[in-house]
């Protein structure tokens, strides 16, 4: 059961320009979405969770080990991070080799790595492109390849930085299914995203970050009902949620199915 604990985390890239101003938060198995405007510190935060950056003050502890005490590669057995830009993280000229790269680094045999890769690719609907060059695929598919690359590593914690950018309906659906499957397996999933529909459909917990601090941390229902917090963070609830609010529904609506049911039941 993976646990991440963050205490009084402060971070800056340049002296005098704080990016994270004291964050204390805990993560347990389940799906958490981190939302907020660009510049809020979200990407910096997840890099600290991954150990790529070390805290300037405060601590980040993953399964009782402080990130400051281990190398990133060691921590990669437990925490996987899919970066926003695929171009930074594609190393091989065949999709299958690419997805095997992670498991091989972790010590799996070639056969085991191949199995893990195949399985991961299938989960993302990429079985058919295993022999292609990642750069011959479109941007969205390339992004899915990078997700497969982390999935194949089987880490307990999976962090996704803006996975739904440029994805179409099918791609988003596959990513959502991956999130559901991972949480079903008792893993921890943390996602940075701007896609509020994606959030409401697949994430139980929503953390709103603004200017280096956590402004809100609660269930999706709670957070999307908090108008002023969302407005300050430059965010808007999904369309269907706003529709429910416009009709004065008591409960905060998260999906179209919920809306339909609520409307039919209460007549309002």
């Amino acid at each position: 059961m993976p646990e991440i604990s963050v205490r009084d985390l402060m971070f800056h890239y340049t002296e005098g320009v704080p990016v994270l101003r004291g964050i204390s938060i805990d993560f347990s198995p389940g799906a958490t979405a981190i939302v907020g405007q660009n510049g809020a510190g979200k990407s910096t935060f997840v890099r600290l969770l991954k150990g790529l950056l070390k805290p300037k003050s405060g601590s980040v502890t993953v399964n009782s080990i402080e990130t400051a005490d281990v190398t990133v590669a060691t921590l990669s057995r437990t925490v996987g991070l899919v970066f926003q830009n695929p171009a930074d993280q594609l190393f091989k000229s065949r999709v299958a080799d690419e997805v095997m790269f992670g498991p091989q680094n972790l010590g799996y045999t070639s056969d085991e790595a191949q199995d893990l890769a195949r399985h991961a690719l299938e989960r993302l609907g990429l079985g058919g492109v295993a022999h292609e060059n990642p750069y011959d695929l479109g941007l969205a598919e390339r992004k899915l390849v990078t997700v497969a690359g982390i999935l194949a590593m089987g880490t307990e914690v999976v962090i996704l930085d803006e996975p739904t950018i440029a994805q179409d309906v099918e791609g988003t659906r596959r990513l959502g299914k991956v999130v559901e499957d991972l949480t079903g397996e008792g893993k921890m999933v943390i996602t940075i995203t701007h896609d509020m529909d994606f959030v409401t459909r697949y994430f139980d917990r929503v953390v709103v970050m603004q200017q280096g601090v956590v402004h809100a941390d609660g269930s999706a229902r709670e957070v999307f009902a908090a108008h002023d917090i969302l407005e300050k963070a430059g965010l808007e609830p999904p369309q269907v949620t706003r529709l429910g609010q416009a009709l004065g529904m008591d409960q905060t609506i998260l999906t179209t199915e919920e809306f339909v049911k609520t409307y039919q039941r209460k007549g309002r």
Binding site: L52, A87, D88, Q89, F91, K92, S93, N105, Y135, M153
Partner: protein
């Protein structure tokens, strides 16, 4: 952020137009090859260093000079040992002797090395690649070639940023890049692939963006700003050219220096 090796500044050296700086630098390099006199070479170096200092770029230049020190010492010592015209012993230690004639030749080569470096640094550190290229395009350089030149001049910092991002991704996939030196060296090789590929992709995207800004036609462009060459810039150009010509005359006309 996109940076070049350029050092920001607003002094009189910075305000010189790019072409003047190129003329000064090229004259200095040419002179250091033409003139064999040590004092003359030393004077050229002094002028270059003075310009760099006036521009506030000397500190940035020091690592380059430090890096070249080994090479300079090598010239000095090897020539001291084996220069054919060696006759007078300067320093001896057992069977090994350094000769005066060779040491002087070695010193000359070292000075030449430093002159080339300083002159080049005047261009690299005190002239922004975009200004340099614009100055050339105004005078007839093909805009396309100019753009490529400018992109190449800015390539080092860009690749440095890219490299960091790629190494982060490698570590995140379980590949050790920290720790022992050998580990770090091993981590360098797989970098090449992604570095080149991502550069190529950005290049293609950029090329497309340029095409649709009308860049492809290669017609003669107009310019938003008028070119401004400060008065003292013209003076410096003439001084540099005069120095070059006198150097040629003195060396091959009169056999001096």
């Amino acid at each position: 952020m996109r940076l070049s090796l350029y050092v920001e500044g607003d002094g009189w050296v910075h305000r010189l137009d790019p072409l003047t700086k190129v003329i000064i630098a090229v004259s200095a390099i040419a002179l250091t090859f033409i003139l064999t006199n040590l004092v003359a070479n030393g004077a050229i170096l002094f002028v270059s260093l003075a310009l760099l200092t006036a521009a506030g770029a000397l500190r940035r230049a020091l690592p380059v000079f430090a890096g070249a020190l080994l090479l300079a010492l090598t010239f000095f010592i090897i020539q001291g040992l084996v220069y054919p015209g060696n006759r007078t012993v300067a320093v001896a230690a057992g069977p090994v002797a350094l000769y005066r004639e060779g040491l002087l030749v070695g010193l000359h080569l070292a000075l030449r090395l430093y002159n080339i470096l300083s002159a080049t640094l005047i261009i690299v550190l005190v002239t922004h690649p975009t200004h340099l290229v614009e100055a050339l395009v105004r005078r007839g350089l093909s805009p396309r070639f100019g753009y490529v030149l400018m992109a190449v001049l800015q390539i080092i910092p860009t690749m440095a940023d890219q490299t960091k991002a790629i190494m982060d991704a490698q570590r995140s996939r379980g590949m050790e890049t920290e720790g022992k030196l050998w580990t770090r060296i091993k981590a360098f090789i797989p970098l090449m692939g992604p570095l080149v590929t991502s550069s190529l992709i950005s290049t293609e995207e950029r090329a497309l963006a340029l095409e649709v800004r009308g860049f492809g036609d290669n017609a003669r462009p107009t310019f938003l700003r008028e070119e401004h060459i400060p008065g003292y810039g013209i003076v410096l150009r003439w001084i540099a050219l005069a120095a070059l010509v006198s150097g040629i005359v003195m060396r091959w006309g009169f056999g001096w220096l």
